[in-house]
Symmetry: D2
Amino acid sequence: MEFSYDERTEELRGQLLAFMDELVYPAEPVLAAQLADPAREPWSIPPVVAELQAAARARGLWNLFLPGEHGAGLTNQQYAPLAEITGRSILLAPAALNCAAPDTGNMEVLAQFGDEAQRKQWLEPLLAGEIRSAFAMTEPEVASSDATNITTRIARDGDEYVVNGRKWYITGAMNPECRIFIVMGKTDPTAATHRQQSMILVPRDTPGVTVKRGMKVFGYEDADHGGHAEILFENVRVPAANLIGEEGSGFAIAQARLGPGRIHHCMRAIGIAERALELMCRRVSERVAFGKPLAEQGVVQDWIAEARVRIEQARLLVLKTAWLMDTVGNRGAHTEIQAIKIAVPATVEWILDKAVQAHGAAGVSQDTPLAQLWAGNRTLRLADGPDEVHKRSLARRELKRYQQKEV
Amino acid sequence: MEFSYDERTEELRGQLLAFMDELVYPAEPVLAAQLADPAREPWSIPPVVAELQAAARARGLWNLFLPGEHGAGLTNQQYAPLAEITGRSILLAPAALNCAAPDTGNMEVLAQFGDEAQRKQWLEPLLAGEIRSAFAMTEPEVASSDATNITTRIARDGDEYVVNGRKWYITGAMNPECRIFIVMGKTDPTAATHRQQSMILVPRDTPGVTVKRGMKVFGYEDADHGGHAEILFENVRVPAANLIGEEGSGFAIAQARLGPGRIHHCMRAIGIAERALELMCRRVSERVAFGKPLAEQGVVQDWIAEARVRIEQARLLVLKTAWLMDTVGNRGAHTEIQAIKIAVPATVEWILDKAVQAHGAAGVSQDTPLAQLWAGNRTLRLADGPDEVHKRSLARRELKRYQQKEV
Amino acid sequence: MEFSYDERTEELRGQLLAFMDELVYPAEPVLAAQLADPAREPWSIPPVVAELQAAARARGLWNLFLPGEHGAGLTNQQYAPLAEITGRSILLAPAALNCAAPDTGNMEVLAQFGDEAQRKQWLEPLLAGEIRSAFAMTEPEVASSDATNITTRIARDGDEYVVNGRKWYITGAMNPECRIFIVMGKTDPTAATHRQQSMILVPRDTPGVTVKRGMKVFGYEDADHGGHAEILFENVRVPAANLIGEEGSGFAIAQARLGPGRIHHCMRAIGIAERALELMCRRVSERVAFGKPLAEQGVVQDWIAEARVRIEQARLLVLKTAWLMDTVGNRGAHTEIQAIKIAVPATVEWILDKAVQAHGAAGVSQDTPLAQLWAGNRTLRLADGPDEVHKRSLARRELKRYQQKEV
Amino acid sequence: MEFSYDERTEELRGQLLAFMDELVYPAEPVLAAQLADPAREPWSIPPVVAELQAAARARGLWNLFLPGEHGAGLTNQQYAPLAEITGRSILLAPAALNCAAPDTGNMEVLAQFGDEAQRKQWLEPLLAGEIRSAFAMTEPEVASSDATNITTRIARDGDEYVVNGRKWYITGAMNPECRIFIVMGKTDPTAATHRQQSMILVPRDTPGVTVKRGMKVFGYEDADHGGHAEILFENVRVPAANLIGEEGSGFAIAQARLGPGRIHHCMRAIGIAERALELMCRRVSERVAFGKPLAEQGVVQDWIAEARVRIEQARLLVLKTAWLMDTVGNRGAHTEIQAIKIAVPATVEWILDKAVQAHGAAGVSQDTPLAQLWAGNRTLRLADGPDEVHKRSLARRELKRYQQKEV
């Protein structure tokens, strides 16, 4: 066993920490000001993001998430501590490094399952940060974290596919620079359960696509990263070549996409927790009540200790999961991926709640990032399948493991 | 002991329930539409509220919160179950009945401590629902839930007082119809700790008053009830006659205001919890996953049972507190008022969290009221003094009680 | 609404509090010494209990639990605050007043369902405190909190019934003075689900009855009140006249017995919580660490405040349940009886845990009552049906209530 | 980073797992029977333990805990997974391997701080498993987890030291084979705070030593491993050469002893949690209620998933702590040692509680190990300093870390 980071990771951590200190943290108030500017085009990404992207790319801090030839070629173990650092400034740093969801997952899908034409047309500009993308899976009418419930129809008609359906909470899609949607739907509702689904590329400007409204998250529009759109697909026709992989491969591709997606969320969430703990420590060191700093109150100290103890445990489970993905593959790390999906958002929520409480009214306001971080993190307990579904699945595997050993 | 409501209460409950069914619930989508109307004057109260107010007044459902000659003359016990019902549609019903915070507390202050001229000028139009008011106590720079920390200065200068200070989270003050602010400040920073503070009436349009911005609550502006303003008072001059009571009485008036304020919040919060539980029951009865309604999942049943058990306990403590306030006075009910301030928001938060979870993405969205209710309720854990301050105080009293019995 | 106790209750409370102060609390160390006496006959009840019983009976504090002609004739509302007081010295006070489980429930069964001969032979000496009884329902092999699962057989054979089965955790039955067992079994396994069971009186000394061993509760034998026996019934023959009520009435009698049994447990548990809080307050006032009494530590204050807030809520729900049982009957109070069964043991467990923690090693030792109280209370979360079963049932009723209102 | 065990560890794990399967698990009912034998000499260790010790020693599974020349020479990293395995049969396996507390800590003290004569006289027979030892630190009268509070006096008188004091919860000391006590006391109460204490070797049979009684833990005497004694030291005279190290070194030795002691407890506790989870899985797979195995109930699945997720996190933190102790020393691992002391017992308690609940009455009985495991684990939340003390200390270090970075 060995708990230290390797040389390559330490080197990149050093560069990234410097980038954060020099450029990202100072850009946070700039982002806020640009978002608040009444003259801003609705849903456009504030210009400070592009500036940071240029700087990051120049420093080689670019596409770190992507293994293999198209990206930085890091392992999950190597990327994990870097993703954590970007989580400390979640509205800016992941986007600055071209490592923000859902583009990361979409690029992975294109790199792994796209054909050459698809990669040429969509992966390249995504890798270059020239356009953004969305992943259109969730539907309002069904429990769509179970992909087998999806009702959107992708029907073959000659050389084209015709897409009909309603999606919502399509992150990033309100941003006009989000040019391409990967749409999940059913090509054959009569096939075997996990062979009914396919994924298809639908350019934003295709006739029949209506980006209807931005869905909110506890009052937030998340306009800084393109919001969360409700989208109607009404007789949307795209060339048959837009299908990713073959008909019926949608479920498998979705599964392949989920593992890395989940661990990336968890890595960044650890960074959010560290930021929240730091803000809490600062606040309670400065704020005086009843004649002494809040930091000297026993209950506050209890929060800080619990926060530290919980973060350490959660981080280690994320890192071990990354190591497993690298050594035995995403399938072999299935239990651990599920475990961090369950554990990390709950841990981070608890810490954010305490950080909010330590800040009083400022904690729920727009003057600290805490409330928005809380809201974003809260959704992780229900996005990509609610905690309850994952617990059920993990428990069944645990029980089966026990029962098989018995025999 | 007797746990049933008296005849007058049952009669009013019947009328109020009918009013809710006939007018309030149907007005909820109207309110949403009016709030979303891009042509709306910012921060103005949507017209549906005034319509409901007219209807409520016509039915005698008006100023129910106010004991004594100026109001409906109900006891706390009688008002509690009615306030709970209004909590079921928190954005509309309290305002419709002229029973919404902070006007309720302000009317109480004016009724109890205002002189005849003050009552004539401000209490009468408030009782008539013609204007709205705000209570300017909280300051960003200090732990102002302890009123002794307040830094705003109210300095006598001839026949006038000059007010200087910065306040925030002044609920209702973004609404242009909010005509009067009750401002808490220090008239004599050298007096005994609890005799330094005074309250003074500052009309909105007084020179030197700047309503600077709306403070948010987890992304919500709460524009439906006038938001939460940050307000600058810079050399604001008002006649000396605007002082409420005498110099140095501010702390005592604030204390008198808090008891009823807290119990009203708690009463309504019980109604919020009932609404959330009802929404949860509806959702899980309708939503199917893994081949059966969510209502048949054990974990969901556990939530529902816990919610019911917790609501029943919390409501009883609120009702007993109301009874104590009626029988031994607010001072005698001090421990219980503090107990409900601690218990109720935490209970309601737990239930709202589960209701959100049961709704999936819809739960955090603008399509159900749950996320906004959660955010509003979350602030109760820190408004009027964070939980931790109340627990500390309650524990000390418990310890003293024990130690005195010992001797 | 009215939250004060009536005159009769207040009078009895005064008498009982005096009895506790004068005789019960001073007897606690006497009980401990008598239990520790190596010369004691195993499982016999220490003599101090009989002394207290004589005193209680002389003062009219006797059989307070029993409504109707055979007992003190109190309502549930009146008995509840008295039972709470006895809970403060749970090992002595209930027994002293002849108000200890399981005799209370057994006397209720005999009073309500026994025939004259059965009442003459068994109820009279029980009411007089001359003998003790046990209720033999739980079986090790099945989930017997659901009475329909019971496997013990009660077979008619001429003028006799023949009983075969194995029972455990039969409270009180290790005590040789426990003369009579009410045994639950199946007289007709082919009847309708709830008509298969019957209850029958089996004297301890009947051939075929083997009291096998004392079952422990977290290491405690609970020898002070007769332990918890495992009992074998092997071809045990009793006269047919020993059947209580008619064949097939066992399930209904068990249901009738459960309501009062549960509320009595909950009432006493509130008293346990008050005692624990008092012990915690004493300890933290006296114990010094880091230069000041523990009472000044913020975390300890948090515990004390939470304990007070939770006790108040739990007590009110118990009292309301008692009032409902008095006014609408046990059936009408079904939800509330279930609610207190869920809520009270969990609340009391939390408080006991904190009281233990505040006492350090003494808290888990035999030198304070806390650890034993904890263990006894812990079993309430699984006795008479585990929490999970009650929550499931309560939730289904809540859902049905919602669904029916909908239609 | 690398999360797999090294070759030496895997080899020993294989041997130890075989030893558990072949000898330890089968010996569990033997131990229970021997403990229950009425003819047993009180507090003697049942003979099955010595048999297992012989077998373990023959297999080379002996003194694995002890680094350096005197023991097996394993690192903390290597020992951790082995200690976890022994935790699965906590009453037998640690003793069988001569790796049970408090002997482990005492052997470490003697190996590290004892002089040659002391090692000869006491360490050798301890390493050979011929005698047992106790560590007499805790005192009933003071908060003695803070060693500076200790009141026991060790006074120099010519060539002897005279020991006076009262100790309790001295684990193992009821066992007559426990021949030697390491006693912590003050040699110079006027010295600097951390230089007042010394440790001294007091043979059990020294005049003035009275082993007064066995302290209980939630009803358990823990007779299987020598109980927890209250011991009086009244003018106990021992040769001056019995002092360990020099006068005033007691605090430092205690600190050195604590780190490994805590991590060993935590390692074994992880094994306890795994055993509990396994028992829970078995029970719920077999037990049927409401027509299906408990394993199919959603709430039960939730417990199992949570248990797995929490165990994984806790284990990783223990392993990382072991790695830190190996690489940067116990001092450098101070925060992590404290973190596992806080996290692990709480995690294991939660899992044991659920395992108990899943077993119903059997869970609190003597027929499963769960209740006793729960009680033993519960004490870890207050032994060696209650959680609250450790959290306070950890939080202060976190705050200091933050404040220093700020400057």
